[in-house]
């Protein structure tokens, strides 16, 4: 199915999209290898050298406890990638399933699912996440992913529903019905592969959004407490901003570059996967 998705679509991947892909892959690689490439242990502190500027021993300086900022930044990539991918994974799976049911079968199920998505989308996602983490009283990695997923699926569901509504009127779907194919098969084998392109694009932007949301939550002290995340590093750095501004600037740059890179990648994917433009342009 995935191989099929890229079949016949060899549009040029622009320079910005390539840059985005490189940045994204780089961040993922860093996240995977963080424990091996980090110069110090995550728990390492040297209390004699607090708040030091970047040097050859501590490339990005040290924090208020004497921990190595570079090490914390590398580990922060882990959190970013984990939150980004798992949130989008959960959201898109739930969104695709509910959106498909809603769009293909319609009726009262459609009404209920769509009203729920409207309620969720009318509410600022980050506020809902704060509320949920506050209720569970446990700011952990899992809580962040869960809280971001609760409202995040609604966008995917609406996107998938809309795509299915237009796709199911096409003749090849009608042909499938005339052949006596079961609805399940028509939906999963015929319709879904044909509407995946915009979903993949939205998922790519979704990863950037989730990373940003996790950073915001961590900045507010609602992120995972047992590990370093870019958001919490930013939060800590902000307290010493006048003394050692780079403590806040480095995580900020990391967040910005990652989100920007993923967005460039998303733009490139959209141009490449746009079936309406690339398949039909051949005719």
């Amino acid at each position: 199915m995935i191989v099929n998705l890229f079949k016949g679509r060899t549009r040029a991947f622009g320079p910005l999209a390539r840059l985005g892909a490189v940045v994204t892959l780089g961040v993922i690689l860093v996240a995977l290898l963080a424990p091996y490439i980090a110069p110090y242990d995550l728990n390492f502190v040297d209390i004699t050298r607090q708040l030091e500027p970047p040097s050859s021993t501590h490339w990005l300086g040290t924090d208020e406890n004497g921990g190595d900022v570079f090490t914390h930044m590398l580990h922060g990539a882990r959190v970013a990638v984990l939150v980004g991918l798992s949130t989008v994974g959960i959201c898109s799976t739930v969104g695709i399933i509910l959106g498909s049911i809603s769009g293909y079968f319609g009726g009262w199920v459609d009404e209920i699912i769509m009203r729920v998505t409207e309620i969720l989308m009318a509410f600022p996602g980050i506020l809902l996440a704060i509320l949920l983490i506050f209720i569970t009283q446990e700011p952990s990695l899992l809580a962040v992913i869960g809280a971001l997923s609760v409202s995040g699926w609604a966008g995917y569901a609406r996107l998938v529903r809309g795509q299915i509504l237009s796709e199911r009127e096409r003749d090849y779907v009608e042909a499938g019905k005339a052949m006596g194919y079961p609805s399940r098969r028509i939906l999963f084998v015929h319709i879904l592969p044909n509407i995946m392109a915009p979903v993949i694009v939205q998922a790519t932007f979704g990863v950037a959004g989730a990373i940003l949301a996790e950073a915001s939550l961590s900045f507010l002290g609602l992120g995972p407490q047992d590990t370093s995340s870019w958001g919490s590093l930013l939060d800590q750095g902000a307290s010493y901003f006048l003394l050692t501004p780079y403590l806040a600037i480095f995580p900020g740059i990391a967040i910005m570059l990652t989100v920007l890179g993923i967005n460039f990648l998303g733009d490139g994917l959209r141009d490449m996967l746009d079936t309406r433009r690339s398949i039909e342009a051949e005719h």
Binding site: Y172, E174, A178, M179, G180, P182, P193, N194
Partner: protein, 354 residues
């Protein structure tokens, strides 16, 4: 022809599409009467041409027969079974026998499946073949419709319009159907390709004993391929006859106008061709005219046409017309009856009037 038994009987078929309004309480505000009471037979082994202008309900009729839409009313009897009353599972297995060829060869094939998958899928779903048997059946079908079997792993966008239409035909043939609805199968193709596809359809009919419902708006194409022709206007059938009778003795005023619009290839006869030009537009199927739906545009309409809906009547054996003129041969626009039987009736009717 007349001895052939009907393969398909359509009785009082109605297909209305409701239009809803209201945010919370949806209520029906109107109905599009796409097909409004059709009764006809499709005989075994024949090609029944279904003609009419855009929006007259011909495609809807084809789809309602195949149960792609659930008909509002009426029966579709295929080999003694009313398809409208079958449960889902039985209907799914019956679908093998009734197939469809679509107008648009681009939209009717899934762009992400190979030709082999498209043609072979029905076999897989109905568990009729797997593995090598499936592949060889697919390649056999490709050869039957005139495609190179080596292209089995190619994607639809690698083919031309005519070739894609062949893929669609092969898919329709996969499960050995008895009846195929051809929904304007040639109108999206180049003129040079149209004849090829028509010939292919005729060859397949002869080879596999197929029955076609051939939907088209091109009268010349329909005349070429059809044994009998049915003319539709605004969801109703106005005339049904053999191709020959339809062209030699078009009886309904609408059919006469249609046929008078076909150009004649001989320039001398063409110069004398009398065109009947209909006034106005086709009324909306949302709110069809009372009585005979054609009365708003009929040059011969009188009071009765506004009140009473004409039924299909035999003007000569096998020639059915839905027009009140048939009952009143003395009126302007009425054609002289051809058959002795109807002449007698006509005479007695005119005697009654006196």
């Amino acid at each position: 022809m007349s001895e052939a038994k009907p393969l398909l009987q359509i009785k009082g078929l109605k297909m209305h599409f409701p239009i809803y309004k209201g945010a919370f309480v949806r209520r029906e505000v109107a109905r599009v009467k796409a097909v409004d009471g059709l009764t006809f037979d499709v005989l075994e082994g024949e090609t029944l041409g279904l003609v009419g202008e855009s929006g007259c309900g011909k495609s809807t009729t084809g789809r309602a027969i195949l149960q792609l839409y659930t008909p509002t009313e009426g029966e579709v009897i295929f080999r003694g079974e009313d398809l409208c009353k079958l449960d889902k599972a039985t209907l799914h297995s019956r679908r093998k026998d009734l197939q469809m060829i679509f107008q648009d060869p681009y939209a009717s094939l899934n762009p992400r499946m190979t030709v082999g998958d498209i043609i072979g899928e029905p076999l897989k779903v109905h568990k009729m073949a797997t593995g090598n048997a499936l592949l060889s059946r697919v390649q056999e079908l490709m050869e039957i419709v005139g495609l190179d079997p080596r292209f089995v792993r190619r994607y639809p966008h690698e083919f031309s319009g005519g070739q894609r239409q062949r893929i669609g035909i092969a898919r329709a043939l996969t499960c050995n159907p008895k009846f195929i609805v051809c929904d304007e199968p040639i109108s999206a193709l180049d003129v040079s390709i149209q004849a090829q596809i028509m010939n292919l359809l005729e060859d397949l009919q002869r080879e596999f004993g197929l029955t076609y419902l051939f939907i088209a708006h091109d009268l010349a194409a329909v005349r070429h391929i059809s044994d009998r022709i049915a003319v539709m206007y605004l969801g109703n059938m106005v005339e049904l006859a053999t191709g020959e009778a339809m062209y030699d003795r078009p009886t309904h005023p609408y059919t006469r106008a249609l046929i008078s619009a076909v150009p004649i290839p001989d320039p001398e006869i063409e110069a004398t061709r009398e065109r009947i030009v209909l006034e106005g537009d086709v009324p909306s199927p949302l709110n069809p005219p009372s009585g005979c739906v054609f009365h708003t545009r009929c040059p011969f309409a009188w009071d009765r046409c506004k009140k009473e809906c004409p039924q299909l009547k035999e003007s000569e054996p096998g020639h059915f017309v839905a027009c009140h003129l048939l009952d009143e041969p003395g009126r302007e626009g009425a054609l002289p009856p051809v058959d002795g039987n109807t002449t007698k009736q006509a005479v007695s009717a005119s005697v009654d009037e006196e």
